[in-house]
C-alpha cells in the first residue's frame, strides 16, 4: 500500500517536474515520433515477466495507457478500440498492449479489467503493469495529472503505435474512428498513407482538387500552369518567325 502511494506521488511529481523543465514533454500527436519507446519490463496477465522489446519483435504494437480506477475516458476508450479493431484494415498485423500508468494497479486489477471487456482469452490483447512507468510515459509523451480532490488522473485517451524496431510511428489522442485506427496500423507496419491538404479559398491553383467527402482527386487549374511555358514558347516562335521573314528559302 505504502509502495503504491509513494509511486503515485512520484509519478504525479515527475509529471509536474517534467512540465516545469526547460524542454517540456511534448504532449501533442506530433511529439516523440520516430523516437524509441522505453524498453520497460512488463508483468502480463499470465504473470509472466516480459518487456516491450520482446513483444514488439513479434508484431508491431498498439499501446493503450489507462488506469483501472478511472471513472472517465478509459472504459469507453478501450471499448471503442476493441470494436474499431474488428473493422480496421490489416487488423491482424498488430498486437495490443493495455498498460496501466497507475502504480496502484496490480496485475489482478488488470486481469479483471480484461475479463470485464471479454478480452482475457484474446491472444491479440495483453494487459500489463510495469514498475518503470515514469520513463515509459516520458518516452511516449504522455503526461497524466493527479487530481487529489477527485482522486483521479486527469489524462487523455492515448494510443501509441510502435513498429517492430521499437520506434513510435504515430499517436492517436482521444476516442477515434476505425479509419484513424487503420492509419495507425498502416504506420506501425511502415505502410505509406497519403494525406491531402483540404481545399481552401486561398489555394486557387491546385494541380488537383481533393474532395474529402468522396476521397477523390479531380484535375485542377494548376495543371494549366505546367503547360503554360510550352504554349507561350510556341506563340513566341510563331511571332518571331512572322516578324523575321527569312532571307533565303
Amino acid at each position: 500500500m505504502f509502495k503504491n502511494t509513494f509511486l503515485t506521488i512520484l509519478i504525479a511529481g515527475g509529471c509536474f517536474l517534467a512540465s516545469g523543465q526547460e524542454a517540456p514533454l511534448s504532449t501533442g500527436e506530433e511529439g516523440n515520433i520516430y523516437q524509441k519507446i522505453y524498453n520497460a519490463p512488463l508483468v502480463t496477465s499470465t504473470k509472466q515477466a516480459t518487456s516491450f522489446e520482446k513483444l514488439r519483435k513479434e508484431k508491431p504494437l498498439l499501446l493503450g495507457l489507462i488506469f483501472t480506477r478511472c471513472s472517465g475516458v478509459c472504459n469507453p476508450f478501450l471499448l471503442q478500440l476493441k470494436e474499431n479493431l474488428q473493422f480496421a484494415a490489416n487488423n491482424n498485423s498488430v498486437n495490443v498492449v493495455v498498460l496501466s500508468f497507475d502504480p496502484r494497479d496490480s496485475i489482478t486489477d488488470m486481469n479483471s479489467l480484461a475479463q470485464r471487456l471479454d478480452l482475457e482469452n484474446d491472444l491479440q490483447w495483453t494487459f500489463a503493469v510495469t514498475d518503470s512507468i515514469l520513463p515509459l510515459i516520458q518516452s511516449v509523451g504522455f503526461s497524466p495529472v493527479w487530481d487529489s480532490a477527485k482522486q483521479q488522473y486527469d489524462h487523455d485517451a492515448f494510443l501509441v503505435g510502435i513498429n517492430k524496431d521499437g520506434y513510435i510511428t504515430k499517436k492517436l489522442i482521444g476516442v477515434r474512428s476505425a479509419n484513424d485506427l487503420s492509419l495507425l496500423i498502416s504506420s506501425v507496419n511502415n505502410i505509406f498513407s497519403p494525406t491531402y491538404r483540404l481545399p481552401g479559398t486561398n489555394a486557387l491553383f491546385s494541380c488537383f482538387n481533393y474532395d474529402p467527402t468522396t476521397g477523390k482527386n479531380t484535375p485542377g487549374l494548376g495543371l494549366l500552369f505546367i503547360a503554360l511555358p510550352a504554349v507561350v514558347t510556341v506563340l513566341l516562335l510563331i511571332l518571331l518567325s512572322y516578324f523575321n521573314a527569312p532571307k533565303v528559302g
Binding site: 505509406f192 488537383f208 505546367i226 503554360l228 518567325s241 523575321n244 528559302g249
Partner: protein, 480 residues
C-alpha cells in the same frame, strides 16, 4: 564572321566564368572536407556553400554554352553585340545578388529552393526576396539573350528549316547545318524552361505579397521548379554538343558533319523528351498521376538516347581508323563525350522507377550529374575556350602541357566522382553536412573526394593560367 568586338566580349565571358568556376570548386572541396570531418563548419555554413555552389555552377556552365553558341553562330547569322553585353551584365549582377543573399543573408534553401522552404525563414528576412530578385535578373537577361538568338536565326532560316524538317524527305533542297538545328532545338527548350521560371517566381511573389490571402500548391511549385531547374541543367549540355558538332571535325582536320534524316529526327525528338523528362523528379509525389510518372521514365530514357546515339556514332565514325589531328580541344571534346555518356547511363539507372526507390536522394544523384557536368559539359566548354584563346596565335603550349592538364583533370575528376558513386551505391544520402555514425562509410569517401577534387582544381588552374594569356592578348588588341 566574328568581329574583334565579339572576340573581346567572349574573352571577358571566359575569364569571368573560369574565375567563378575556381571559387565554386573551392566551395565544393570545403563541403567534402566538412563531410569528411577534416574541417568543421556549421551546418548553416555548409548549406550556404551548397546553395551558392549549385546555383553558380549551373549558371556559369549555362552561360558558357550560350556564349560559345553565340560566338559560333556568327558564322551563319548576325548576332546582337548589345544583347551579348546585356546578358553579361545581367549575369554578373545576378550572381552578385545571389552571393549577397547566401554569403551575407545566409539564405541556404539549396539550388532547387523547393517551395515552401524559402518561406521558412532561417536566415536574414531580406535574403529571400533578394534571392528571388537575383533569379529574376538572371532569368530576364537570359530570356532576352535566347529570344534574340532565335530571332536572328529566323531571319535567315524558316521555322521548318531551323528544325530541319525538310531532311525528313530524300534530297532536301536546302541543308540546315547541324549547328543551326541543334542550337535552335536547344534555344527553344531553354526559352520554355526560362518561362517556367518566370511563372514560378510570379506565383512565389503572389504568395509573398498576399500576406496569406493566397497560398501556392506544393505540387504545382515542385513541377515548375523542376521544369525550370532540371531542364536548364540538361539543356546546357546540348549547347555544348552544338559546339562539338561545329568544331570537332574542323579541329580534327576532317570533313564537316552534315545533317541527315536520322540526325534531324533524333534532335526533333530530343526537344520533346527533354521538356518532359523533369517528371522523374516527382516519382515520390504520390498525388502526381501515374501517367506523368511513366512519361517521366520514358522521356528520361529517350531524351538521352537519340542525341547521345547520334553524337557518339558521329564521333566514332570520325575517329575510327582515321588520322586525327589530336590537340587539347578535340581531346577535351572526346573525353567530355565519354563523360556525358557515362553520366547519362548513371542518370538513366536512377530515373528507372524501381531503382529510384533505392537511389533516391543518395549521393548517386550528385555522382551522375557531376559526371556529365564536371567531366562532360565543362570539358566541352574548356575545349571551346582553348580553341578560342588560340584562334589567332600558334599553339600557346606544347604537348607536355596538354598531357599534364588532361592527366590532372582525368585523375582528379574520376577519383572525385568515384567517391560519390561508391557512397551512393552504399545508400549514403546527399545533402548531409556531417555523417552520423550510421553513415560513417561516407566519411572517408568524402575526404577522398576532396583530395581528388583538389587535383582537378590544380588542372583547372593550370588551364586557366595558360589560356588567360590568349584572352588577355585579345582584350588588349586594338578595337578596329
Amino acid at each position: 564572321m566574328e568581329s574583334i568586338k565579339s572576340k573581346k566580349i567572349t574573352a571577358v565571358w571566359i575569364i569571368t566564368i573560369l574565375t567563378l568556376f575556381v571559387v565554386s570548386i573551392v566551395l565544393g572541396i570545403l563541403m567534402r572536407l566538412n563531410q569528411g570531418g577534416v574541417i568543421e563548419q556549421t551546418p548553416v555554413a555548409f548549406y550556404v556553400n551548397m546553395t551558392t555552389h549549385g546555383l553558380t555552377m549551373i549558371g556559369i556552365w549555362f552561360v558558357a554554352g550560350m556564349m560559345a553558341v553565340n560566338f559560333l553562330l556568327q558564322r551563319y547569322v548576325k548576332t546582337s553585340h548589345t544583347v551579348n553585353i546585356l546578358a553579361l551584365v545581367f549575369t554578373v549582377v545576378g550572381v552578385l545578388m545571389l552571393w549577397t543573399s547566401t554569403f551575407i543573408g545566409k539564405f541556404h534553401a539549396g539550388w532547387t529552393f523547393l517551395y515552401p522552404l524559402p518561406f521558412k525563414i532561417m536566415w536574414a528576412k531580406w535574403a529571400t526576396p533578394v534571392f528571388y530578385l537575383a533569379l529574376v535578373v538572371l532569368v530576364v537577361g537570359w530570356l532576352i539573350w535566347c529570344l534574340s538568338l532565335i530571332a536572328q536565326i529566323l531571319k535567315k532560316y524558316s521555322i521548318s528549316q531551323t528544325f530541319a524538317w525538310q531532311h525528313f524527305k530524300k534530297n532536301p533542297k536546302v541543308e540546315t547545318p547541324p549547328f543551326i538545328l541543334i542550337s535552335m532545338i536547344t534555344l527553344v527548350g531553354i526559352t520554355t524552361c526560362l518561362i517556367a521560371a518566370v511563372v514560378l517566381v510570379a506565383l512565389t511573389a503572389a504568395e509573398y505579397f498576399s500576406k496569406g490571402a493566397f497560398v501556392n500548391d506544393a505540387l504545382l511549385m515542385k513541377n515548375l521548379t523542376y521544369f525550370f531547374g532540371h531542364t536548364i541543367a540538361n539543356e546546357m549540355l546540348y549547347l555544348g554538343l552544338a559546339v562539338i558538332y561545329e568544331l570537332f571535325s574542323e579541329i580534327s582536320g576532317r570533313p564537316k558533319w552534315k545533317t541527315t534524316w536520322y540526325v534531324a529526327i533524333a534532335w526533333n525528338f530530343t526537344l520533346v523528351f527533354i521538356l518532359t523528362a523533369f517528371f522523374h523528379h516527382l516519382y515520390m509525389d504520390f498525388v502526381q498521376p501515374e501517367g506523368l510518372q511513366i512519361v517521366g521514365q520514358l522521356a528520361s530514357y529517350f531524351a538521352s538516347l537519340p542525341a547521345a546515339g547520334v553524337t557518339v556514332f558521329s564521333i566514332f565514325i570520325a575517329v575510327y581508323r582515321t588520322k586525327i589531328n589530336w590537340s587539347l580541344p578535340n581531346l577535351l571534346f572526346f573525353i567530355g563525350t565519354a563523360g556525358w555518356v557515362i553520366g547519362g547511363l548513371g542518370a538513366v539507372i536512377d530515373a528507372t522507377i524501381s531503382n529510384n526507390v533505392v537511389l533516391h536522394n543518395t549521393l548517386w544523384v550528385p555522382a551522375h550529374f557531376h559526371t556529365y557536368n564536371a567531366m562532360g559539359n565543362v570539358l566541352f566548354s574548356l575545349g571551346f575556350f582553348y580553341w578560342f584563346a588560340t584562334l589567332d596565335t600558334e599553339k600557346i603550349y606544347s604537348g607536355k602541357g596538354t598531357k599534364l592538364i588532361l592527366s590532372l583533370l582525368l585523375i582528379g575528376g574520376i577519383g572525385f566522382l568515384l567517391a560519390f558513386y561508391i557512397a551512393g551505391a552504399d545508400s549514403i544520402p546527399r545533402r548531409y553536412s556531417n555523417y552520423p555514425p550510421e553513415l560513417a562509410a561516407g566519411i572517408p569517401l568524402a575526404t577522398m573526394g576532396a583530395a581528388f577534387a583538389t587535383i582537378y582544381l590544380i588542372g583547372i588552374l593550370i588551364f586557366f593560367f595558360n589560356i588567360s594569356k590568349g584572352c588577355l592578348k585579345i582584350l588588349s588588341s586594338p578595337s578596329s
